[in-house]
């Protein structure tokens, strides 16, 4: 009897199968993930969880008898009152009798299972990207590209170049006249032959001495000497990476009610999640504004409360200022996302427009505006244009500018709108304005 402790064996044996399964059911899983996420709280936006998909796509058919019709025969335990000849009304569904209980998933409409955080996010954020990530820069030492660059005499064993090493060994062996194995064998054979046939003593003696010399020589001159060994050498090259900064501008003034703030925060948490996950080198700058703008950290941006009047231009000025100070335009890809209820002090509209057109848009790769509205407003997407101050002002932004605007009224709209704004699109096609 043997006891083997397998507990320390590497886990995840089913990983490959699971991936195959997810790939197989990809379309359905993706749909389910999107549906599931509309009802989640902000904090859980990126968590895994249980989803259910229709069994259709992952059904495994096999030949079996139908569950209906014909003459059927059951043997059941636990008889208490029936006697032979009794009749019993049929249970409602054919499957009511346990003896034909489902064993194959047949008859289930839904297949429920849990996704890990990782898988969930992957599916959730699939096909999204920052548009026009063009400015590439050599930045930091983090991104390096290793390239094969010749051979060296030192290195790790895993990088030994066998052909090179043997080539060196061969030339050394030839140069130093190391006897070949064939020669030694031939000599041996000859000696043996002479011994067997009782050959001439002197001749035998000469051969023997020669063999001894050969053996001694081949012992002295190794087949492979440390000087022969060559390693494949790698050289590191810094790799240009795209550096990007995302400005999140949020209106937190008094006109924004809880619902709107919730929507805006949801939008940004999605954005934040997306950037963090997809891009290693993306800075995120949070700016919130009332009648004055402030740069804040993530925690404050998402969780603190503030109230006041509304002057949108302050945020734009703040952004321009930060860009000037920290993000040289020639080195950074600059993005901005703005969320607001569309309210603005009317006198400010012209300023906003001018600032946007003349300063912000020229330095931006992409500018997205999301207008949050009330759930109960009667106009819904497509039915008509919202007519807030800001919306009207932004309408005048040139269509060919890298600018997009969308309206969000309900939690369930956020993800679709987000996707529209950041969907992967063919090269060169800019997002069209709303």
């Amino acid at each position: 009897m043997h006891i083997i402790d397998r507990r320390l064996n590497p886990g995840g044996k089913s990983f490959a199968n699971r991936q195959r399964f997810l790939r197989r059911a990809r379309a359905q899983v993706r749909k389910a993930v999107r549906e599931a996420s509309s009802s989640r709280s902000i904090k859980d936006a990126g968590k895994g969880g249980e989803i259910s998909i229709p069994t259709g796509g992952v059904h495994e058919p096999h030949l079996h008898r139908s569950r209906e019709g014909g003459v059927r025969d059951y043997v059941l335990p636990g008889n208490k009152k029936y006697i032979e000849g009794d009749t019993i009304p049929r249970p409602e569904q054919g499957g009511g009798q346990g003896s034909q209980a489902s064993d194959s998933g047949e008859g289930e409409d839904e297949f429920r299972f849990a996704l890990s955080d990782e898988e969930y996010l992957d599916l959730y954020l699939e096909d999204l990207e920052l548009p026009d990530l063009a400015k590439r820069q050599v930045a930091g030492a983090k991104a390096v590209l290793w390239r094969q660059a010749g051979y060296s005499v030192s290195g790790p064993p895993s990088r030994i170049s066998v052909p090179r090493t043997l080539r060196h060994s061969m030339s050394r062996r030839i140069a130093l006249k190391r006897p070949k194995a064939d020669e030694i064998n031939a000599l041996r054979a000859e000696i043996e032959k002479l011994e067997r046939e009782g050959g001439h003593f002197d001749e035998l003696q000469t051969l023997r001495t020669q063999l001894e010399q050969y053996l001694a020589r081949s012992k002295r001159i190794p087949y492979i000497d440390p000087v022969d060994v060559r390693y494949r050498r790698l050289e590191s090259n810094p790799k240009p990476i795209a550096r990007a900064v995302m400005f999140c501008l949020m209106d937190v003034s008094g006109s924004m009610n809880e619902h709107m703030k919730d929507l805006a925060k949801r939008f940004y948490s999605l954005l934040y999640l997306f950037l963090n996950r997809r891009y290693e080198h993306v800075d995120v700058v949070f700016i919130r504004h009332t009648h004055e703008a402030q740069e804040v950290d993530e925690q404050t941006f998402f969780y603190s409360r503030e109230t006041g009047g509304t002057v949108v231009s302050t945020a734009l000025f703040k952004m321009a200022e930060i860009v000037r100070d920290r993000y040289p335009v020639d080195q950074w890809n600059i993005y901005a996302a703005q969320a607001s209820d569309g309210d603005n002090t009317s006198s400010d509209n012209a300023v906003v427009l001018a600032q946007l057109k003349d300063v912000i848009l020229p330095i931006c790769q992409y500018y997205a505006y999301v207008e949050v509205g009330m759930d109960d407003e009667d106009d819904h997407p497509g039915a008509g244009e919202p007519s807030t101050n800001l919306w009207r002002a932004y309408r005048r932004v040139a269509v060919d500018a890298p600018f997009a605007m969308r309206k969000v009224r309900h939690r369930r709209d956020i993800y679709p709108v987000f996707r529209e704004l950041f969907a992967r699109r063919p090269e060169g096609v800019a997002a069209e304005g709303g």
Partner: protein
């Protein structure tokens, strides 16, 4: 752990270590092999975690398996059920191999480990080694090597021909796997030498009987067509019920690696075929054995009362049989039925009643219960086991009754209950339930139109007026068509020759 010296106890409390497992294994062996006369494979006990158990579940319990999405699906399903607490995990998994692999979970208490070792390491292991169906169909020495080969082979195919192609092939093969077993040992193809010898004998015989007179006897017109038909069928080995086998050997357009994949699926499925035939007996045997061993350990003072109570608790929940009207009812529990029948056989051997003497005269009062059980475990499968050894007593205890549900009747009819007139009927009906040949639809390949469009013709012998589930049948038939490469037709026919349904399919993306 030698602090227990002085008392005979194997352990105290719930904690266990490897030394304890060894002692328990040996103590169980003393009873199992020494007293009960079991003959198990040597055991290899492997300790695993919950996650590894779920992994094992996904690959039908085997420690290694080729890759396919359906196993990932199975894993996801079990994991979800387990996480939500709908389903506990088995305490063990046992593999029919030599040595017998017993997986035990690290969470188990010392008592549970003892129970598991007795159950799997002695009960199942004995059954695997001695039962005739297993002996006939499975190669316990070779299965792990074969699975290793299968996994590597399929991985290699994926590298060479692409994951998608291989997956499609496996999908098709899996769809047919319930019809990919040989139910009977086949006639072996004669090798050249014996063929030659037979030919020689035949010629000699012909020479001896030669009479020129026969040449002058007028010959009637030959039924050319019928001969042709039969010749063709004989050449193709038709009719053939092993669909995978037929396609592997005969499908005209498959590449060698595709045939090999069909073969892999077929052989692995063949390995599991005995398990499907002996569910009740296998579990009955293991449950009976662990029950005996645990009782004896307690009697000998090797486990304490606390441990024994823990055992009783878990044992009773395993062998519980809810009634048909109970919410928990999910069919007849093979553990319950198997255990009850084994205990009943023991009773019949030792303290038979008049009824038992009449029903089972061979073993009633023989006094050698272990001998009788060993013989039964070796020579029966579920179907024959039930039809031979289910006594009226068990039928009464379970309150079994038989219901006939005829589509044409208004209501279902109670055909038999546990009374004098019903025993045999119930026994026969239940035995039929465990007959795999009856449970799986009878589908055969009957003909190929070799001269025409190579259409493959299958029939389903419809029994009791139950046809195939249509949607699934069409999907499976599509797979058959893709494998065969030409049109296929499935005719559902009952015994009086009425065609109940017909399906046909043309290849959409034939394998080639």
């Amino acid at each position: 752990m030698t602090t227990l010296a002085g008392s005979q106890l194997l352990y105290k409390g719930p904690d266990w270590d490897f030394d304890l497992i060894r002692r328990v294994h040996d103590a169980c062996g003393e009873i199992g092999i020494g007293e009960m006369g079991l003959d198990p494979y040597p055991n290899q006990i492997e300790v695993i975690t919950v996650e590894q158990m779920l992994d094992a579940y996904a690959s039908t319990g085997m420690p290694l398996f080729y890759r396919h999405w359906s196993f990932g699906k199975e894993f996801a399903r079990n994991e979800a059920l387990y996480r939500k607490g709908y389903q506990g995990l088995a305490y063990e998994i046992v593999i029919n191999s030599n040595p017998c692999l017993v997986y035990i979970m690290e969470e188990n208490s010392a008592t549970m480990q003892t129970l598991v070792i007795a159950h799997a390491g002695y009960g199942h292991s004995h059954f695997f080694k001695n039962n005739y169906v297993f002996k006939q169909w499975t190669d316990a020495d070779g299965i792990l090597d074969y699975l290793e080969f299968a996994r590597n082979f399929i991985a290699k195919c994926e590298d060479r021909y692409g994951q998608e192609e291989v997956e499609r092939m496996l999908d098709a093969a899996h769809a047919l796997q319930s019809h990919g077993v040989h139910r009977f040992p086949r006639k072996r193809m004669a090798d050249l030498r014996s063929e030659q010898k037979r030919e020689e004998e035949r010629r000699l015989h012909g020479e001896q009987l030669f009479n020129d007179l026969w040449r002058t006897v007028p010959v009637g017109k030959r039924k050319r067509n019928k001969d042709e038909d039969e010749r063709r069928k004989a050449l193709l080995g038709l009719p053939e019920e092993n669909l995978l086998y037929f396609l592997e050997k005969t499908a005209p357009r498959l590449a060698p690696w595709q045939r090999e994949i069909l073969r892999v699926v077929r052989l692995i499925n063949q390995y599991f075929y005995p398990q499907r035939q002996t569910k009740v007996m296998n579990e009955g045997c293991a449950t009976y054995v662990h029950h005996r061993i645990m009782n004896r350990l307690h009697e000998k003072g090797q486990i304490d009362d606390g441990a024994f109570l823990e055992f009783i608790h878990s044992h009773t929940s395993v062998v519980m049989q809810p009634g048909f009207d109970d919410r928990r009812y999910g069919g007849i529990n093979p553990y319950a039925l198997g255990f009850a029948m084994c205990c009943d056989i023991e009773r019949v051997c030792n303290e038979p009643t008049d009824e038992d003497r009449e029903w089972m005269p061979d073993i009633a009062g023989s006094g050698d219960a272990y001998g009788a059980l060993r013989d039964i475990w070796a020579n029966y499968r579920d179907e024959s086991f039930v039809s031979q050894y289910m006594s009226p007593r068990v039928i009464r205890d379970f309150g079994l009754f038989r219901i006939v549900d005829d589509e044409e009747q208004e209501e279902m009819n109670v055909a038999a209950i546990h009374d004098e007139r019903g025993y045999r009927k119930i026994r026969r009906a239940l035995s039929k339930h465990y007959d795999i040949a009856y449970r799986d639809p009878d589908i055969q390949i009957v003909d190929v139109d070799l001269a025409g469009d190579r259409k493959l013709i299958l029939t389903h012998r419809v029994m009791d007026g139950i046809v195939l589930e249509e949607k699934d049948a069409e999907k499976v038939l599509q797979h058959v068509a893709d494998l065969w490469g030409y049109d296929v037709k499935l005719v559902e026919q009952d015994d009086s020759g009425n065609v109940r349904a017909e399906h046909s399919a043309s290849p959409r993306r034939p394998f080639m």
